[in-house]
Symmetry: C2
Subunit: 397 residues, 2 copies
């Protein structure tokens, strides 16, 4: 859209753009936040037609074509694009969130990192055997890529990296339990890759519980099926719910509050308002719903940009959006991964190298690519994770 | 002390060891926290005689030789070493702390980083001319090395690094004001080096106010001498006050609450309790007070370790502690520094290289040395600071 004669205002409630696929590595003390985040206005600095504002949107006045900010300010628009994403959802149990944090933002990641490290610190000082075992039990809810990546990395952290650092506890006895309601982990992948990942996770020492949904989360632990698992730390990677964008417009939604957009990604009844990414639902993947992953959002973004640029030129016949799936990747610890590009399925070490290269490629800027590559090399060679920090306010929540 | 037959318990309220000389670089978004901090238990993992505990000390029962923890636990000791450091002091005006944060911990640094970046974000959206000017005015109180380093780096950040990123404000018009009560900045250095640093700071665009002490800090700004300066961000680098260690023991103190220790660094009346670092006062530098800097604390630490090791062997004649001053260094922006090693005084670029090498040398571990060196190289070459993150909870304090 850079060539179109338009002025663009980008509004975000955070000052940074986040590379979410690697967020679990910040949560497990492997990467620093600044290695996977970039200040938005800095990325866009050369595009003089783009103004970046740090602000929180409270609503939309579609009649007068104004975005309403939470401090009372307004921003007028001719075209509006909503890419407000999704947060975690707890299947109607919002009260579980206090006990089972999710991983969507850098704040989530830093918080989870502190909780993981703190669990070991508290266990080191705990004299009661049962309480100590609960502190050293980590439950992860949700067997998709995020849950699998968290479980594998926490298992490596506990069983390998922290082994020598404690005197009163043996971190190799930490239990990492991955709970999935469906019949297999990585349900979005081919069955044989799921089986491979399952075995790889078990080799890392992760205990996998299938076919039982979570019934309850509390400060004591998590209940699923007939089982009550005493665990001080529960991580939620199971359900998402779209942002409030649909509520701002009274738009039609699915059960996760995602806007059911038209074929050209506009909001029904508002031809000048578009919505993209995790906050929308559209069956544009050979009849199936487009997945809530970054490549889909990027393709939708480009499509909307082209549509708006055409309109400005007077061309009002936008083609429908079609999603092209490049592939799925998930990593299991630092030695193994599964990769699926249509017919091409890879597993093990070669998949892991491909996964690493792809993720480094999609980072922004040579500096971050170098920093992350060196960080991973260091973890691989030395076995040490470099960002094991607890910020003090986490110890007395 | 590794060869002595002793068991050592290290208690800290934080899980990481911090390289404080570079803390201002985290505060100015130049380095990530994990580049200057290391998990304590990881550093000590090979020393099986050392147990590390994350805990907060609430007091000392010197009669029964117990350390009292804030959760009710106790740790028994034969010898005790207190190295509890110092916090900021506001000359009797504790209420100023809310408006003028200091820089002693990683939490301080991340908080200040967010406040600095947020000031520019808010200014970008501010329509009132006076309020915008106040947002773009940064006051630093205290002309010692910390204040000088903060002032110089914020000036570079505003005038160079952020220049292209904003549309409604010109960051080159940000005012950075350094306020020092005494007659010159860097009072601990030779006069000609102070003059050089003063000129270098002014060339960076810092306004220096000498000879006037701060009278008041508020949400509007800072008052010093006859002047009222409207500044939304005030950074405090002016006074320190020792930890509560002296209060725990009822020990004799100076005006900054530092324990006046004996010549062998023991606490008067408690031959088995030693105190070192920023929390003590001792005239062991050719009759002058030992400065509150890391090299002094390290020398004191080694002296106490040797004393305890001797005692264990039955040798009860500890020599008095003598401080050896290696030198003073302070950097002004990314091109200049002043270095003083006794008779040897350096300034400018060569001093800056020496400063850089010394600080990299004193970091712990090759990984951090490489990471910091690469980060500095990147800043130097590209002009971009890589850790410009605001964590969301800072926007709505």
């Amino acid at each position: 859209m850079a060539r179109a004669p338009v002025r663009i205002t980008l509004i975000d409630q955070r000052n940074h753009h986040l590379f979410q696929p690697l967020l679990y590595q910040v949560a497990t003390a492997s990467l620093a936040p600044s290695e996977i985040a970039w200040p938005v206005r800095h990325l866009l600095r050369r595009r003089k037609q783009i103004t970046t504002l740090l602000a929180t949107v409270a609503g939309i006045d579609s009649a007068r074509r104004h975005v309403l900010l939470d401090d009372g300010g307004t921003i007028a628009y001719d075209s509006l694009v909503l890419a407000t994403g999704a947060r975690h959802a707890y299947f109607g149990h919002a009260e579980w969130e206090a006990y089972a944090p999710g991983l969507k933002t850098l704040e989530d990641a830093a918080d989870i990192r502190g909780r993981i490290l703190l669990a070991f610190e508290l266990a080191e000082r705990e004299t009661d055997v049962q309480r100590r075992a609960a502190l050293l039990t980590f439950a992860i809810v949700g067997g998709g890529p995020t849950g699998v990546e968290l479980a594998g990395t926490i298992a490596e952290l506990a069983h390998e990296n922290l082994r020598e650092d404690f005197r009163n506890i043996d971190t190799r006895r930490a239990r990492i339990v991955l709970i999935e309601a469906g019949p297999r982990i990585l349900p979005g992948f081919a069955e044989d890759l799921s089986r491979y990942a399952h075995a790889a996770l078990e080799r890392l020492g992760v205990q996998i519980e299938l076919g039982r949904a979570v019934r309850e989360c509390s400060s004591e632990g998590v209940a699923f099926g007939e089982t009550r698992l005493a665990a001080k730390l529960i991580l939620w990677a199971a359900g998402v719910r779209a942002s409030a964008a649909a509520d701002w417009l009274g738009a039609p939604v699915d059960q996760a509050n995602r806007i059911k957009v038209e074929a050209d990604l506009s909001v029904p009844g508002h031809a000048e308002i578009f919505a993209i990414g995790d906050t929308v639902s559209i069956d544009a993947w050979h009849g199936s719903s487009v997945p809530g992953i970054a490549p889909a959002a990027k393709q939708q973004g480009r499509h909307v940009a082209a549509t708006i640029a055409k309109r400005v030129r007077g061309d009002n016949s936008p083609p429908p959006f079609r999603y092209r799936h490049a592939g799925s990747l998930a990593t299991i610890g630092k030695r193994s991964a599964v990769v699926e590009f249509g017919w091409l399925k890879l597993r093990g070490r070669i998949a892991w190298w491909l996964w690493g290269l792809a993720h480094i490629y999609f980072l922004i800027g040579m500096r971050n690519r170098l920093a992350v590559a060196l960080n991973w090399l260091w973890i691989y060679v030395s076995g040490n994770r470099s960002a094991r920090l607890i910020m003090r306010d986490q110890q007395h929540p």
